[in-house]
Symmetry: C2
Subunit: 246 residues, 2 copies
C-alpha cells in the first residue's frame, strides 16, 4: 500500500512527508509493535526516493520513539513501555535491590462516569464524555504496596469497561494492547510528597496521615495522544529513586 | 603530540586503543572542556588510520560522555554538568514552574578530617587519608531551602581547603574546575524520604522531624572517578520531580 509522494505540500520537507506516511501505516497497524519494517532499500524503491531521504524519514520516527534501530538487526516498531515501571520509584522491604518483580494486581472498583473538565482537555474529548475509572491495589506477597486510581477515555477502552476485571492481568499495558489495540509508548511521571487519608491508609494498611509519595502519570500512545491518567500512592519510607545526569 | 598506533596490544581493538589515546590527551588538558577537537580527517591523518577507525573511536568517547557531537559544528570536549541541577528535584514556593534560579550559597563550616572506610573506598584513597567536609546552606530570597554536606578528597581539592569560603561562588562545579582543575562530568542522585533532626531543622527553619527528601549524590570527573559525595536535604512538601520513560 505504499504511495508515491507526488503530491507536494508547501512547507513540508520530502522526508517529513515520508515520515508522516510511514507513521500512518504504523498507526493503521500494518506493522505490529515489535515487528521489523522493510529494509531501507525496499522502502526507497517503493516510494521512488533516494536512500538518504528514507534514512532521514526513519531518523525522525526513531527520534519520536515510534521506531527503534537495533544494530545489525533492522528497524523495529516500538514495542511499548514496560507496565511494571511504577516499581522503579520504590524499594519495598524484603525485596532485593534491583529485583524486578511484578506485584499482584487487584481491581477494587471499576465504574463509568463523566469526564471532568481537565480529563476532557487532556484526552481531547467533549466535556462530559464517558471515562472508565479504576481503583487498583498492588501487593507483594499479599502485602499491599501501591494504591492507584486510573482514568481511561471511552470508547477507546470500551472492551475493558465491558469485561470482568477478575480475569485481568497483573500488568495493564500489555492488556491495553491485546484488548483495546492501545500501545503505550511514553509515560511521564511527576513525583511529589503527600499524606494518606483515612481510606487510602486503610487500603495500604498504614496509619492515617502516614507520609506517602504521590506519582501522577500521563501515558501516551504511539500517536502521541494522552490515553491514561493515573495517580499512584506508596509509603514514603519505601521511596528510592536514582537519577543520573551526564 | 599525536602518536602513531604502531604498538599492538592483544585483545584491544585498533579503535579502542585510539579512543584511549584521545581520552589521555583530553585528561591531560590538551583540549579544554567545551573546546572543539580537530576534524576527523586531520586526526585520521595524524594517527595514520582510516576515517572509519577515527569515527569508531570518537563514537566510543561520545558514548562515555567525554565528547559531544554538535550537528554541523564538530566534536567538543564535554563541558561538564550544570551545578544547579539539585534544584530540579524541588519546586520552592514563590518560584514559577521551571524557573532556573541559582540559590545563594552559604558555607556554614569547612573542616579537614580523616576519610571513613566508605569514603576511602569510593574515592580510591588509603583509609585515613584526608577529606574536606563542607556544610552548606542554600537559600532563595534569604529563605533557606537546601542543607548540604559535601565531602571532597584531598589533595585533589587542596586549593579549596586553603581558601576563604566567603569568596566562593554560588555554584561549586564551575569553581571546582577553575580552582582545582576538576570537571564534573556525571552525577548520580539517589532520592529517598527522611525526617529532619534538630540541627537540620533549625538550619532550614522547619520543625524537628519535619519530612524531608534526602538526595545522596556521587559526582564523577571526566576520567570516571568519584570525586564528590554529597547529601542534600530539602522540605518534602517542596519536592517535585518529573521522570519520563519512552
Amino acid at each position: 500500500m505504499s504511495t508515491l509522494l507526488t503530491d507536494h505540500t508547501p512547507g513540508q520537507s520530502r522526508y517529513g512527508k515520508l515520515a508522516q506516511a510511514l507513521r500512518d501505516r504504523i498507526l493503521q497497524g500494518e506493522w505490529a509493535p515489535g515487528e521489523v519494517i522493510p529494509a531501507e532499500s525496499t522502502l526507497a524503491q517503493n516510494y521512488g526516493v533516494a536512500l538518504g531521504t528514507i534514512r532521514q524519514a526513519l531518523s525522525l520516527l526513531v527520534e519520536d520513539g515510534v521506531l527503534q534501530r537495533r544494530h545489525g538487526k533492522g528497524t523495529f516498531v516500538t514495542k511499548g513501555v514496560d507496565g511494571a515501571s511504577m516499581m522503579r520509584f520504590f524499594r519495598f522491604r524484603g525485596l532485593d535491590d534491583g529485583a524486578s518483580i511484578t506485584p499482584h494486581s487487584h481491581i477494587l472498583s471499576s465504574r463509568l462516569r463523566a469526564a471532568s473538565v481537565r480529563e476532557a482537555q487532556v484526552f481531547s474529548m467533549t466535556q462530559g464524555a464517558q471515562v472508565l475509572q479504576l481503583e487498583r491495589l498492588r501487593s507483594l506477597d499479599t502485602e499491599p504496596c501501591l494504591l492507584e486510581t486510573i482514568v481511561l477515555p471511552l470508547p477507546l477502552f470500551g472492551a475493558l469497561a465491558d469485561s470482568d476485571s477478575h480475569g485481568w492481568d497483573d500488568l495493564l499495558y500489555p492488556m491495553y494492547q491485546e484488548r483495546c489495540g492501545v500501545v503505550i509508548q511514553k509515560t511521564q511521571d511527576t513525583l511529589s510528597f503527600s499524606q494518606l487519608n483515612a481510606t487510602q491508609a486503610k487500603r495500604l494498611k498504614l496509619a492515617v496521615s502516614h507520609p506517602c509519595v504521590l506519582v501522577e502519570r500521563q501515558a501516551f500512545d504511539i500517536a502521541g495522544r494522552c490515553v491514561e491518567l493515573r495517580t499512584t500512592r506508596g509509603d514514603a519510607y519505601s521511596f528510592k529513586y536514582t537519577a543520573q545526569v551526564q
